[in-house]
């Protein structure tokens, strides 16, 4: 299995508050990794460090042969110009908790935006591919709707299609179902399950223990900015060695 993502010693502070205390992580191609942990444990910040939405204060992230935001130059990390950073970021598909669909664009407009503007595809080509992706997430019928006319679950499925349209190496999900009404969670998890079955490399920050148990190849539990437990879901979720992980899991599984 070849490596897709390797995070090395990621540290991040907001002011004097240290959110991430030196995290290491490796994700292989085709792997589905779920990051669990209590709120405030830094799991979203960690995900945002991986695609450089937050710049780590220490450490770096290697994605598919390049270091995010830097290039190695005479033994030091030289910061990249913003255009090259963006090109790297487009290799990582991001799905946000609050969808962040472009409010002034239709569903189709949201999905073709990246391929047209960043990849330089023609409108026809971008639309044809976008319709295929919308089909895949079950949103083709709503292609000409605006985000404000959609339910949360529909928005999130469009957001997934938008991220997939860039043909990313890895998909990142930042609590994709946390802002949804309970009855809408299922449709989004179903789309993610299908992606996982199709072999997409995924890093998923989530509270959905059931999804993690069923779909993840590996599970990471973060507490207070550290990885406290890592391994196969059966092992981590049913028999965690770390007492704080055990207490977190007993609270969410109760």
């Amino acid at each position: 299995m070849s490596l897709a993502v390797k995070a090395v010693g990621i540290r991040k502070s907001f002011g004097s508050h240290e959110v991430l205390k030196g995290l290491d992580l490796e994700v292989a191609y085709g792997e589905v990794l779920c990051i669990l942990g209590p709120s405030g444990s830094g799991k979203s910040t960690f995900l945002r460090c991986i695609n450089h939405l937050e710049t780590p204060n220490g450490g770096y992230v290697w994605v598919d042969g390049a270091i995010m935001g830097y290039e190695l130059n005479r033994g030091a990390l030289q910061e990249l110009p913003v255009k090259r950073l963006r090109a790297q970021q487009s290799q990582l598909g991001m799905v946000f908790q609050h969808f962040n669909l472009f409010a002034h664009r239709t569903v189709l407009g949201n999905v073709i935006e990246g391929p047209m503007v960043v990849r330089g595809l023609s409108r026809d080509e971008a639309e044809a591919r976008a319709m295929g992706l919308l089909e895949q997430v079950g949103m083709a019928a709503k292609a000409s709707a605006y985000p404000s006319q959609l339910s949360g679950g529909q928005k999130q499925r469009v957001a997934i299609a938008r991220a997939l349209a860039m043909e990313p190496r890895v998909m990142l999900f930042d609590e994709p179902t946390s802002a949804l009404d309970p009855e809408l969670v299922g449709e989004v998890l179903e789309v993610m399950r299908n992606l996982a079955r199709g072999g997409t490399t995924m890093i998923v920050v989530t509270h959905e223990i059931g999804f993690a148990r069923e779909v993840a190849d590996r599970v990471v539990v973060m507490i207070d900015g550290e990885i406290r437990e890592m391994g196969a879901p059966q092992q981590v979720l049913s028999d965690p060695g770390d007492p704080r992980v055990r207490s977190f899991l007993s609270r969410v599984l109760a």
């Binding site: 939405l53 969808f99 503007v117 938008r162």
Partner: protein, 308 residues
């Protein structure tokens, strides 16, 4: 336990309850009729006062379509349009600079707003008009070499004075508009690989325009009226034309009323245009033009903000 009287007015025995088809009588509002009547009466008094006052309405009608007045109104429209275009351009340029990562650009934009929002627009017009006293020649190597009085005509001074002043207000409007576009929009654009320029042009600014459209509409209406200040710098727009006529024929109030009619016509057309523009852009959640029942419903809406 408090003692409840047996025959309190609230006590309605179940047996007396009416059927489901019981008639409902609405509460009457005699106060509304009275206050409405008073206001109508006052309006009638005002209208009558003007009707019997010393105004020669035939003169008003006569000059309403006089060539000089219509030409003057043409200039009024041209000055307003040019100044508004300049103001919007400056507003976006400096509004974006206000949010720059570069502190020097931020400072320059702040300075612009501080100076031009902090001085009266009439004063600014007079300074632009007399700018030749400071710079007798406009000399840009290889491009321009002219006497300043030939470059800064009253028209140019009016457009510069009104436009630069408006730009200082719109700078703050644009800055606020950009600031109120959700941060997530920018993050989503970044994760798709869009550069800061692409993100600004394609994601942030279109949503900003929708947010600030009502303000821009008010700016246009305000500009039409503020253009009358150009009368003081010998610009032959409508008010100036009217003044030149009444200096000769003495029909002061008549000609001022002619101007009032034209200004009202102009602002009314702009208001209608603003309504349709907002409705057109209001098709997504970025703007809240919720009321789509029609122009008249909008025209009678409660005033939400002080319109210039």
């Amino acid at each position: 336990m408090p003692h409840l009287p047996h025959h309190s007015p609230a006590a309605l025995p179940l047996i007396d309850l009416p059927g489901p088809d019981v008639t409902v009588r609405r509460l009457r509002h005699p106060g509304r009729w009275i206050s409405g009547g008073i206001v109508l009466l006052l309006l009638a008094i005002i209208v009558r006062a003007f009707a019997v006052g010393q105004i020669q309405w035939t003169v008003v009608g006569q000059f309403l379509t006089a060539g000089v007045i219509v030409t003057g109104f043409g200039w009024t429209l041209l000055i307003s349009a040019c100044a508004l275009a300049l103001g919007v351009a400056l507003g976006f340029a400096f509004g974006i600079m206000r949010l720059s990562e570069n502190p020097i650009l931020r400072f320059a934009a702040w300075l612009y707003v501080w100076i031009f929002r902090g001085t009266p627009v009439l004063l600014q017009l007079l300074i632009w008009f007399n700018i030749a006293l400071v710079f007798p020649r406009l000399y840009i190597p290889g491009l321009v070499d002219e006497r300043m009085v030939d470059v800064v005509t009253p028209f140019v001074a009016a457009v510069l004075g009104l436009g630069v002043n408006e730009g200082s207000y719109l700078t703050e409007v644009v800055r606020g508009g950009i600031g109120s576009v959700d941060r997530g929009q920018k993050e989503a654009a970044h994760t798709l690989g869009m550069t800061p320029g692409q993100t600004m042009r394609r994601i942030i600014l279109p949503q900003t325009v929708r947010l600030i459209l009502p303000v821009l509409g008010n700016s246009a209406i305000g500009m039409l009226k503020f253009s009358s200040l150009a009368a003081t710098i010998a610009m032959g727009e409508m008010l100036n034309a009217a003044q030149r006529i009444y200096f000769i024929n003495g029909a002061v109030i008549e000609l001022l009323f002619v101007c009032a009619v034209w200004y009202l016509a102009g602002t009314t057309v702009l208001s209608i245009g603003q309504y349709y523009l907002e409705r057109h852009f209001g098709r997504d959640a970025a703007t809240a033009t919720s009321d789509r029942r029609g122009f008249w419903a909008w025209a009678r809406r409660p005033a939400a903000r002080g319109e210039a």
